[in-house]
């Protein structure tokens, strides 16, 4: 069955460092991969989308990579700030549906 794996352990880093979050998927061939941010008690908020034919996508301090051979996406936040503390969700998406399949999310804690 389809499986999306994100680090279940919380990631704690120091302010100013780069945070790297991993999303691995198995038994799945997504055409797109979306990343969302979720704060406690709130709904997910869209951050970035990357297509299967794109190796890398950037938006301000965010960078996403998509390796269809490794079946993995990496999500980077450079110059991290305490305000970046949240849970980050990856959601691969097939080409023929709007449905998102979510991972469990990785909680990031940026310490000042």
């Amino acid at each position: 069955s389809q499986k999306i794996e994100q680090n279940s352990e919380a990631l704690n880093i120091q302010e100013g460092k780069t945070a790297t979050l991993t999303c691995n998927y198995t038994n799945y061939s997504p055409a797109y991969l979306q990343w969302y941010r979720q704060d406690p008690g709130r709904g997910p908020v869209f951050l970035l989308l990357i297509r299967e034919n794109e190796k890398e996508k950037r938006k301000e301090r965010l960078k996403v990579t998509f390796d269809t051979t490794l079946k993995q996406s990496l999500f980077h936040i450079t110059a991290s700030q305490p305000a970046d503390s949240a849970t980050y969700l990856c959601a691969p998406q097939k080409s023929n549906t709007g449905k998102l399949i979510f991972g469990q999310g990785t909680t990031l804690q940026v310490k000042p």
């Binding site: 797109y32 709904g43 869209f46 297509r51 097939k94 709007g98 449905k99 998102l100 979510f102």
Partner: protein, 115 residues
């Protein structure tokens, strides 16, 4: 512009009772989705409306759940009768276009506790 709004934000009901959750998508968004997250699990897809039609309802857990979108505007998700395992947060989302690769906007969720 208003985002996706959901009502109620929190609901506590007894096992066997009925609850109806409402979602108002972003104006003009034909695509409306329901997702839910139960304790300790990932967010899971329930169903997808395109206007008033059910495009994909493969995630609906059982026939105690009924989703409607009469008129293609707001949607309701009814749980009848509610069971303990239905507790969780129910998210509604909407998007302008149907296909993948489109930004999907989520509401803040309706938190359901069945006791």
């Amino acid at each position: 512009e208003a985002g996706v709004t959901q009502f109620p934000s929190h609901s506590v009901i007894e096992k066997g009772q009925t609850v109806t959750l409402r979602c108002d998508p972003i104006s003009g968004h034909d695509n409306l989705y329901w997702y839910r997250r139960v304790m300790g699990k990932e967010i899971k897809f329930l169903l997808h409306f395109v206007k008033e039609s059910k495009q994909d309802e493969s995630g609906m857990p059982n026939n105690r759940f009924l989703a409607e979108r009469t008129g293609g505007t707001y949607s309701t998700l009814k749980v009848q009768p509610a069971e303990l395992e239905d507790s969780g947060v129910y998210f509604c989302a909407s998007s302008l276009d149907r296909g993948p690769g489109n930004t999907i906007y989520f509401g803040e969720g309706s938190w359901l506790t069945v006791v």
